[in-house]
Point group: D2
Chain length 261, copies 4
């Protein structure tokens, strides 16, 4: 499936503000970027680096005034999302070194708080993929998915109390539950074709059966059309933009994902 | 200054338990390990890897029964700890790429909650090293250092409420306050010669004046004798031991740091 | 300066052939990629990874038949190339860890063979940048630059004997001479606006005065318009394409670099 | 099997000389270092870093006069070396990213020169492990192993001409032959219990059947007792010591490997 995904962001900046952006999707095992555009207005110096998770990040200092970012990517993604009911739990001692850090608690995923709850939710399920399916199903029925219900990231503990959240909040809770069962889990930020309402999206991946699998509690079923922009332990690592100094929010954020070809 | 630092840990294990240990100090810019010992009883297979922060970590599965770890290191450290009153704040855009992740909130350092408080504590101080000194001084006078007061890591927000903590808790709060001022900060776990009561120790480092500097709110002044074992964003990354499965605590933990030569 | 650089390659493949390509320039300190295209015909699965030098590499298996690659990049580069006559030699003990491997001999740069010759060429020059200038000047006057004179990489020793070479050969000899003086040096492959005849290009960088500087013995002076695609120790690391199995050469290779805006 | 391996090196230094040493074996999948010593005389500042291959390297500047290094390691190694006749060739497209660079030619392994010869040596053997066995057997019968026959590294092409070499030379030729068959291969430097005459040793590893296997053409059979100090593409990467400035050779080099426990 070929998709064209675009994101336009505009900020109103009052003082020169350092930004770290993460809006350039990478070609990887799951997707191939055949064309890409990344324009800034005004056109200012940018420096790109690769973070610890392999994400391409852009550093710049925005001058005061309107500052806008326009990105487009043409992406080939698989026609279906891999699923593997029954894929086994990987014992900690057999996990690859690079996956171990996704077992640890992180800013928005206080996994050490969820041992008992995760045990209850997954009771009776086979260890591994099926536990993560049980968690995702539980999220679907217990946490109301309400786009726009939170501005800033909410931690898993808080989302569990509120019982409502945006895509990122549901993902954080799913991640915390997985990790409390010693299943590595990570946040993915990106695009989803057909998302309603269209916006940037977040979901999570769990490591079972010797690879990462996609899970998304905000959708009733896993359809094709995911385009990953960034990976990390949680939203602290994977922010589409981080700015330093006075808070700024986009005065305009416009996202589109179309099928091409 | 030559030090011999040793740590003996014994666990009572009920079921085979995967462990990740971090008890092998590395030679680096600040210390040189000239002799080292790392013994396990029973003698079981161990696999060592380097984590994202450069720490040497040991993976193993402990069999049921008593499991003990005995480590000794002879270390040359500097005769004084570098201090640099007046060292300037490094604007975010000038920080090395590898330092940026130490600006982000993490599990036990909810830095995004401390903007106002950090501003008040450091009001009137020069940007950079002197702000961190003000934070350390504030911790000394406002948070009671009480070894043994908490078993598990407490986050910066909680430590600030309780006004009491162990070394790690004070370090977490110091780190959160620094990051909220856009000063990169990280946790260090290791040994301190002369610590009362002797035990493993934790302190923090802040990045100002183009390098990392040591800060320790648990001591009235910075004396020599620090030996670093591990670095990370907070205690989630830098755990002397992480075990997976039923919780275990050391039935014996014995730490010694002596001057040699 | 904004440039549009494109490269079209076509191969005639007899048996399924694994390729590793390196044709996606990265945004970095010296250049910003604002738009990019990367098309393959036929459209086959591609997997991208980052090599040890930070280059983006594409892995694929070409089916038999015609296989073509079409890449375009819109790049902002500096309006002039940084030069720093007098920039000092960096003593080995002060070099960053990551730069040390560029001191070692490599496949096409047998630097351990050039100690005496490098000493003679640079006699009387200040240590550092000026030595590299002397080497570049010596290459210009002693090794005839003849595009098309070699198909496969020739080592520095051989180029020195033949006294003629393509851009890559001159760069290899320049690198070997630098390293023999304990100056780190690396190969860069990419585009040069205005190159005659137009083709992919290669030049070298030397590390003096605490950063990498560009040198190019094939041009009478350093003009703006360099676009880097890949970096490495020599052509063994930085190949625009590496194929495994029977040798293949492009039946068509078409490169263009135009000024835009 | 528990071994105690020690190496004493003494140099006579005329001018202050920067060194990069590689004499600290790492605990890894194949070996566990339980005790270790690393002493320098005179006792000078040392800085340790991890190179691109995961080796621990020590940087220092030796003052003029006698400079000596004394290292000891107590190591647990397997009681036998894994062998896997029949282990299959891994097609290039299935190799892990991190292994690909071991397919490329390097300073002392001009693998692109050996296509025909490697084909002849391995004709009739199953692809993979058995090809490497054929290469090792060929080395045993065609290249005379003569400790002390070369001081500086000799490349694979030269060793093939001379038909005689030290352990490192045989390893280089073995590596070049493997790579020319698209089998990743790397050099290992370390200790071998029972080596005659005792000295530091070098052998090679080839990647077949989805992991690295040990090969050593200098021994009539693979016995246990290998302790790895460093890994790399060839001797340019894995030098027990690299010094910069006037050449120096050890005035004393004393190596011991004893069985303990």
């Amino acid at each position: 499936m070929w998709l064209r995904a675009s994101c336009d962001l505009t900020f109103e900046i009052s003082v020169p503000t350092p930004f770290i952006l993460m809006l350039r999707p990478r070609s990887g095992a799951q997707q191939w970027i055949s064309r890409e555009e990344y324009r800034l207005e005004p056109s200012i110096p940018v420096y790109e680096f690769t973070d610890d998770y392999g994400n391409l990040c852009q550093r710049l200092v925005s001058p005061p005034g309107l500052f806008s970012i326009h990105t487009v990517a043409d992406v080939m993604t698989a026609d279906y999302v891999d699923q593997a009911p029954g894929a086994p739990f990987v014992p900690v001692q057999n996990l690859p070194d690079g996956v171990l850090s996704y077992l640890l608690p992180s800013r928005y995923c206080e996994s050490e708080q969820f041992n008992q709850m995760a045990g209850e939710i997954t009771a009776g399920y086979a260890l591994g993929y099926d536990q993560v399916t049980a968690i995702t199903e539980w999220l679907r029925t217990h946490i109301r998915y309400e786009p726009g219900s939170s501005d800033v990231p909410i931690s898993a503990v808080d989302t569990n109390l509120r019982q409502v959240g945006v895509c990122r909040d549901l993902a954080h809770l799913g991640i915390a539950l997985c990790r409390s069962l010693s299943i590595p889990a990570r946040l993915v930020v990106g695009y989803l074709h057909g998302l309603q309402p269209m916006d940037l999206h977040a979901w999570f991946e769990a490591y079972v059966g010797d690879r990462w699998y996609t899970f998304d509690a905000t959708q009733s079923e896993l359809t094709a059309g995911y385009v990953a922009i960034g990976y990390g332990r949680d939203a602290a690592d994977v922010a589409v933009y981080n700015q330093f100094g006075p808070s700024v929010y986009p005065v305009n954020q416009y996202v589109q994902v179309q099928r091409i070809q």
